[in-house]
C-alpha cells in the first residue's frame, strides 16, 4: 500500500516536471532582463491578489493575456440616486465607458461606481449658492449614488442559498417518503445535522432549550461551510472575505442572544458575583467588573466577525501568493516545490473551511447557552 502510494506520488512529480519543461511559459516581451521580468510578474501577482480580494460588479472568470479579452458575464447594477437606475454592468466595458442612465452619468473606478458629468469628470456636492461643500480635510465631497447592485458576492450568496434550499428540501422530502431512512443527498446531510445537534447544540445549550436554536445553528453551519468551499474553487469567489457578510452573521448571533436571553443572563451582567459577598465589598469591584461584562457582550460577536473574516482572507492571500510563486520561479525545482506547497495548503484550507464553520456554530451555541442558562450561580462559588 505504502509502496503504491510512493510510486504514484513519484509518477505525478515526474509528470509535473515533464509537463513543466515541455510547455515553457511564453515570454511576450523578450527585451527585459530576467530580474525585470520577475519584478513585473511580482507586481502583476500582487495586483491579481488585490483584485481577487475585492468584490466586483461583473462575474469575471479569466482573461486571455494575448488578446486582452475578458471572459465572464455581466451582473445588474442597481443604483439609487434620487430615482432608481438599473442597467447591466457590461455597459461599463470593464471601467472604460461612462454609462448614461436617464439624465445622469456614471463611471466604474476601482470597483466603485462614481457619478460623473458627460466628459467623465467627477461631480461634487454643491450648496444652494453654488459653492462646493468641503469635508474636514478640505477636500470636495463627491456625489455618490447608493449602490444596491447585485455584485459577484451577492450573486454567489443567492446561488449558494438556492443550492442549500434544494439540498435541504430534498432531505426533508426523503423523510416524508421513506420514513426515518433518508435517501439521496439526505444520506450526506443527515450525519452532519446529527453532529450539529448532538455535539454542538445539546452540550452547549442544554436539552431543554436547544430546539429553538437549531434552525439558526444549522443554517449558519451549512452556509458558512459551503461559502468557504466555494471560495476554494477556481471561479474565484470569496464571500466570507467580505467583512460585511461576516458582520451580518455575527449580528444575527448577537440579536438572537440578547432577544432570547433569560432573566439570569441580565442579572449576571449587572451582578456577576451574586450573593457571595456583602454589597459594600462589591462596590469597588463592580466599578471595574460591570463595564467589562457589558463590553464582553459586544466583544463576543465582534470576535466572531473578525475570526471568520481574517481566517479566510489570510488563507486566500497565502494560497494565491504560493500559486503566484510558481510563475515567479519559472523553473523546475522552485515551481514544483511551490506547487507542492500550494497543493498541501489547499488541502489544509479545505480543513479550515469546515473548521471555521464549526467554530462559528460552536461559539454561537456557547453564547446562546449562556443566554438561557439557569444555573444556580450562587451554589457554584
Amino acid at each position: 500500500m505504502a509502496k503504491k502510494l510512493v510510486f504514484s506520488v513519484l509518477i505525478v512529480l515526474v509528470a509535473n516536471f515533464l509537463w513543466a519543461s515541455a510547455s515553457p511559459v511564453k515570454d511576450t516581451v523578450s527585451t527585459y532582463t530576467a530580474e525585470e521580468k520577475a519584478d513585473q510578474k511580482k507586481s502583476k501577482i500582487k495586483e491579481d491578489i488585490k483584485h481577487h480580494l475585492q468584490d466586483s460588479h461583473d462575474f469575471h472568470l479569466f482573461t486571455d493575456e494575448t488578446t486582452g479579452k475578458h471572459y465572464g458575464f455581466p451582473l445588474p447594477v442597481i443604483l439609487w440616486d434620487e430615482e432608481l437606475h438599473v442597467f447591466m454592468s457590461s455597459e461599463f466595458h470593464h471601467g472604460e465607458n461612462i454609462v448614461q442612465s436617464k439624465d445622469k452619468y456614471y463611471e466604474l473606478h476601482h470597483g466603485k461606481i462614481h457619478r460623473t458629468d458627460e466628459s467623465g469628470n467627477p461631480v461634487y456636492k454643491i450648496d444652494k449658492d453654488g459653492k462646493y461643500l468641503i469635508d474636514k480635510n478640505g477636500n470636495k465631497i463627491e456625489l455618490k449614488p447608493i449602490d444596491f447592485s447585485i455584485t459577484k458576492n451577492v450573486f454567489m450568496i443567492m446561488v449558494i442559498s438556492l443550492m442549500l434550499f434544494i439540498m435541504l428540501f430534498r432531505t426533508n422530502k426523503s423523510y416524508k417518503k421513506r420514513g426515518h431512512l433518508p435517501s439521496g443527498i439526505g444520506r450526506f446531510i443527515e450525519p452532519i445535522i446529527l453532529y450539529v445537534r448532538d455535539d454542538i447544540a445539546i452540550p452547549n445549550i442544554g436539552k431543554k432549550h436547544y430546539r429553538k436554536y437549531m434552525g439558526f445553528l444549522l443554517t449558519v453551519f451549512f452556509f458558512v461551510w459551503l461559502v468557504n468551499l466555494f471560495g476554494l474553487t477556481p471561479i474565484g469567489v470569496n464571500i466570507t472575505n467580505n467583512i460585511a457578510v461576516t458582520f451580518c452573521l455575527a449580528l444575527l448571533t448577537y440579536l438572537i442572544t440578547i432577544f432570547t436571553a433569560k432573566k439570569t443572563y441580565w442579572l449576571h451582567l449587572i451582578d456577576p458575583l451574586g450573593n457571595t459577598m456583602p454589597w459594600i465589598a462589591k462596590i469597588p469591584l463592580y466599578i471595574l467588573l460591570v463595564p467589562i461584562e457589558l463590553l464582553g457582550t459586544i466583544i463576543k460577536p465582534f470576535s466572531l466577525m473578525i475570526r471568520l473574516y481574517a481566517n479566510i482572507t489570510a488563507g486566500h492571500i497565502v494560497l494565491m501568493s504560493l500559486i503566484g510563486m510558481m510563475f515567479v520561479f519559472n523553473n523546475w525545482i522552485g515551481s514544483s516545490l511551490s506547487f507542492l506547497l500550494a497543493f498541501t495548503l489547499g488541502i489544509l484550507e479545505l480543513l479550515v473551511a469546515a473548521l471555521q464553520a464549526y467554530i462559528f456554530t460552536m461559539l454561537s451555541a456557547v453564547y446562546f447557552g449562556s443566554a438561557v442558562a439557569e444555573h444556580e450561580h450562587d451554589e457554584e462559588h
Partner: protein, 63 residues
C-alpha cells in the same frame, strides 16, 4: 507600514503561537491520559485556540 508596527505584530503572533501550542500540547496530554474525554477536550481546545487566534489576527490587521 512602519517597521515598529511590523515588529510588534510579529511579537504578538509569536505570543499567539506559543499560546496555541500550549493549548494543543496540553490537550494532547490530557487526551492521552483520559481517552474517554476526547470529545469534550477537543471542543474546549478548539474554543480556546479560536479565542487566542483572534488576538493574532487583530495584531496582523493593526499593521
Amino acid at each position: 507600514m512602519e517597521i515598529p508596527a511590523i515588529v510588534g505584530a510579529g511579537l504578538a503572533v509569536i505570543g499567539v503561537g506559543i499560546g496555541i501550542g500550549q493549548i494543543g500540547g496540553k490537550a494532547m496530554e490530557a487526551m492521552a491520559r483520559q481517552p474517554e474525554m476526547y470529545g469534550k477536550l477537543q471542543t474546549a481546545m478548539l474554543i480556546a485556540a479560536a479565542l487566542i487566534e483572534g488576538i493574532g489576527f487583530a495584531a496582523l490587521f493593526a499593521v
